[in-house]
Symmetry: C2
Subunit: 347 residues, 2 copies
């Protein structure tokens, strides 16, 4: 295989509600410069793959609402590489349709499915890992996922248990485990058989096409078409529809300084902390007797906080949120309640 056969699909359609109010419907987290580093998460992701696969082989999928935002943030992306969905139907339909488009362009293609809400600290190791995975997946009928060496008993991530069969750091997958309770997460870490599920997948287009035909055949008629019908597709994730069912699933063990920025808690975990374990994302702060707290506000604004332990304080536009940072389900409930009470005024 050749680099010209390597493709990447960046998934940029998420509504990012778990970062409300910092991310809003009009600007989900992938379009935000989360770290104040001058690049949005989408731009960081694009730049990472830009160094691995040819520019014209990078595709971005997004929702109709964000079409302009993607093109604005990625001036290098040709409009023909933007896949726009009219309806949110989770990852399975998105990936099936992207695979269909890529297969038509190049039946030899091997593709990486790339979420764009990850933090990657070690770019060199990341590039090496992706190329290794592309090599592996291009040569066989296998569905590869990247597993991350866990550093703590995180309960916000999914885990992958490895089987014994191994070749060069790539294992057969024994089973996938959803976000575990604390006590299980601790046992997982000790056993050394469990790895974090990064949600980065690699396969050749023939293999994924076959998997859809085998396990998710009801999606095919809507997607294997030049005019896809997302509305009629089932709303289902690739994990549930394919990865947990297929028998040719492999995991490549990686350690490139990875974090899923899926929740405030995960963002807190990876961000630099002061002596009291507080994290400040952008903005100005004065903290008095605060600890284990994460503060996120736009540049040029000020938060003065006293006596908070384990809180999230997030300010954006016309909304301020102050809540326990480890209660992610609560934030989801807050956003729902806000919508019920105020419509889309604040969401």
């Amino acid at each position: 295989m050749h680099a010209k056969d390597f493709y990447c699909v960046i998934m940029a359609g998420g509504a990012g509600r778990r970062f409300w109010p910092y991310s809003r419907q009009a600007a989900p987290k992938q379009f935000i410069d989360f770290f104040g580093c001058g690049q949005t998460l989408l731009q960081q992701t694009f730049d990472r793959y830009r160094q691995i696969v040819p520019l014209e082989n990078i595709f971005v999928t997004t929702h109709r609402d964000y079409e302009d935002k993607v093109l604005e943030q990625l001036p290098e992306l040709d409009a023909s590489r933007l896949i726009v969905e009219d309806e949110r139907r989770n990852t399975a339909p998105s990936i099936a349709y992207a695979a269909h488009i890529i297969e038509k362009l190049n039946p030899q293609a091997t593709m990486v499915v790339a979420p764009c809400d990850h933090l990657i600290l070690k770019q060199d190791l990341f590039k090496e890992a992706i190329l290794k995975g592309l090599d592996f997946a291009s040569g066989q009928d296998a569905l590869l996922t990247l597993g991350i060496q866990p550093s703590r008993p995180e309960t916000g991530y999914g885990y992958i248990q490895i089987d014994e069969e191994e070749t060069d750091g790539i294992y057969k997958v024994k089973t996938f485990i959803e976000k575990p309770a604390r006590e299980f997460a601790e046992i997982f870490i000790q056993s050394q058989e469990f790895f974090w599920n990064s949600g980065i997948f690699i396969w050749n287009v023939e293999a994924i096409h076959k998997a859809f035909r085998n396990y998710m055949t009801e999606i095919c008629p809507y997607i294997d078409s030049d005019v896809p019908d997302f509305t009629s597709c089932p709303n289902i994730s690739i994990d549930y529809s394919i990865m947990e069912k297929a028998d040719n699933v492999y995991v490549q063990l990686c350690d490139f300084g990875w974090a899923d920025l899926g929740t405030w808690e995960s963002l807190y975990e990876v961000a630099p902390k002061d002596v009291n374990r507080n994290v400040v994302m952008n903005g100005n702060t004065l903290l008095y007797n605060c600890k284990n707290t994460i503060v996120s506000l736009p540049a040029g604004q000020l938060a003065v906080l006293q006596d908070l332990d384990g809180y999230l304080v997030a300010l954006r536009d016309n909304v301020v949120l102050v809540c326990k940072k480890d209660d992610q389900n609560a934030i989801r409930k807050f956003v729902n309640d806000v919508e019920i009470k105020f419509g889309d005024k604040f969401s």
Copy 2:
């Protein structure tokens, strides 16, 4: 005496820093519609005295910075009734100069000194009390202050201890007590000898002029002039310079639903509360497991708060403050720290 001899001086020059960030240097609390009732505190105060003394007998003192704001908020006020100070020198110089101006207009005048950061719930009883005080003070060389029947052992107010000498609810003052510690405040309440010092004073211009000559003679040369020199005046309060020294000080006992809106805590005390004893001033809120908390944000904004007990959450423009609501000295420190660190960007 006649109503035409009754005057009122509304003190509207305060910088209102204790309500930061809701009040800002450019808009101290007297210029804010605190209760979202359609009137600022200054407008409420003006309206109250408008019903007691002739319109042309109402004076307003303020700082040069707020001259336009006062005229804009009080269209009925003639510009000749606005006393503008170039320099903040506390209440003694302000009152001395206002008394000088009024005495020149009408040597028979009796004046009320009216702070404009009070909440008055019972307008009828208030009017009755002010008229009674004006009657009392117009006839004799006495310095009268209004004392409020205390309803709780408040530690944020000054107290007045009454002497035995009494005529029709007006007592000789035995002593003034600054904000007391909790245990003293509780004893004060039980003794029934102590009343809250409202800071509303009533005297005829001759009596106050004489008091200044006796106790604060160093102010006179700067103030008894048509071109006052505030900059050269000592920075001193009327309480400290006159009331605590003079031997002709009286207190009239009142109960007209009074609160000094001097601090967030005092505002919290008087405001309507939900079942969890939370107070929301303007804005929209969703509260989860919050109690004893006060939230102040501009109309049209939203605060979503979880797990806060006894906090103040205030949002305005580019600043959010989250702190313990009963720690007033802390707020003063915060504002100082903000100025040291950020200049006047946020103050």
